[in-house]
């Protein structure tokens, strides 16, 4: 039996067949997870984003008009939620740095977190983490997902020219960051 198209599944969900949405989740959960993971950096944050993405998509399915593909639509939700998560974390980091949170939150000594932290310590991930959010989103979609500029444009609702410029700047920053990091690593340690 031929697999049903996304649009057919969406129509089934609208007709009240919840199982069709589970099928859509199975199709896209990994891609949604990875775009979120690349943008937010950690598994826990990505997990939150993925859940939120599918819940939002289900609740807003009535607004999906089919102008773009279902994947583009859900991908856009995931990218926006990932960027929101980044902003929230930046605010929390700022608060933490200003020692407001340190008075009310315990220190993060969870060994799982340490493991995850060391896992994300690669030079490239470090470099991606330093990018501004728009460049980060474009970089993730282009570099990791190898999406075309037209596809990215549909997700971010941005012109192709702007995306190319963003991606180029992101590439240069990442390359410089990696070069510097590797050079720092090669320097002999003193003492």
């Amino acid at each position: 039996m031929e697999p049903r198209s996304d649009i057919e599944l969406v129509q089934e969900v609208r007709n009240g067949r919840r199982q069709a949405f589970t099928e859509l989740m199975r199709r896209y959960q990994e891609r949604v997870y990875w775009v979120a993971r690349r943008i937010v950096g950690s598994h826990d944050d990505a997990d939150d984003v993925v859940q939120e993405t599918f819940v939002k998509a289900y609740l807003a399915l009535g607004e999906f008009r089919g102008d773009s593909s279902f994947f583009t639509w859900i991908y856009r939700i995931a990218v926006n939620l990932s960027l929101n998560a980044l902003r929230k974390r930046q605010v929390l980091n700022y608060l933490h740095e200003s020692e407001l949170l340190s008075r009310i939150l315990p220190s993060p000594d969870d060994p799982e977190k340490d493991l995850e932290h060391s896992e994300t310590e690669s030079a490239l991930q470090h470099a991606v983490a330093t990018l501004p959010e728009k460049q980060k989103a474009v970089f993730v979609m282009r570099y990791y997902d190898e999406m075309t500029y037209e596809e990215i444009g549909r997700v971010l609702k941005t012109s192709v020219g702007g995306l190319k410029a963003n991606y180029f700047h992101a590439l240069r920053k990442v390359r410089e960051h990696m070069r510097n990091e590797i050079q720092d690593g090669e320097k002999p340690s003193h003492g």
Partner: protein, 175 residues
């Protein structure tokens, strides 16, 4: 090569070269985080379905209703009332009456308003003055003109409306 890339940042070739260099550097470091186990993906679907159930249950809908309608409504009403209190003119405020102003004057000044200074009685106090010093009885007006005589000259100097009042008082007095 760098110069060419700087000058033509949007070329596909420049992009490919940069991407290739980054992939090469990242390859040595192994930049890909490990994939979550299969159980995670199964569990993810269950958790999302649970959250959808919660979101579409009556309680969540009522919370959603509260978030979308009730809370913004209450905030709007409170904002309106606060704005009304601070911006709208105070309805309880009224202009002071002439009597209020006059009574606020020093007693001697009030005396000077009421009578000829040459006949002012130094013993006259504020309590002796009527509440509204500018309200005179018809009798008082008539007596004023009779005492001072030459009502005709006075009538020439005052507006028609006041002259009519004076004439009506005089005619009443004559009756």
């Amino acid at each position: 090569m760098k110069y060419r890339m700087e000058k033509n940042p949007l070329t596909g070739e420049a992009e490919r070269e940069l991407t290739s260099e980054i992939r090469q550097r990242a390859g040595a470091g192994g930049d890909t985080p490990s994939r979550p186990p299969d159980a995670y993906w199964q569990n993810l679907i269950i958790r999302v379905n649970n959250r959808i159930d919660e979101a579409t249950s009556g309680r969540a809908l009522s919370i959603s209703w509260a978030g979308r309608v009730a809370i913004p409504g209450v905030v709007a009403i409170v904002s309106f009332l606060v704005g009304l209190h601070y911006i709208a003119p105070d309805a309880s405020f009224r202009e002071p009456s002439v009597a209020d102003v006059v009574l606020a004057l020093p007693p001697a000044a009030i005396d000077s308003l009421l009578m000829d200074p040459s006949r002012a009685d130094p013993s006259l106090s504020v309590e002796d003055v009527a509440t509204d010093v500018f309200v005179f009885s018809r009798q008082q007006i008539a007596e004023y003109f009779i005492d001072n005589g030459n009502a005709g000259d006075a009538l020439d100097a005052i507006p028609d409306r006041d002259a009519n009042t004076v004439l009506s008082v005089l005619s009443t007095d004559e009756k």
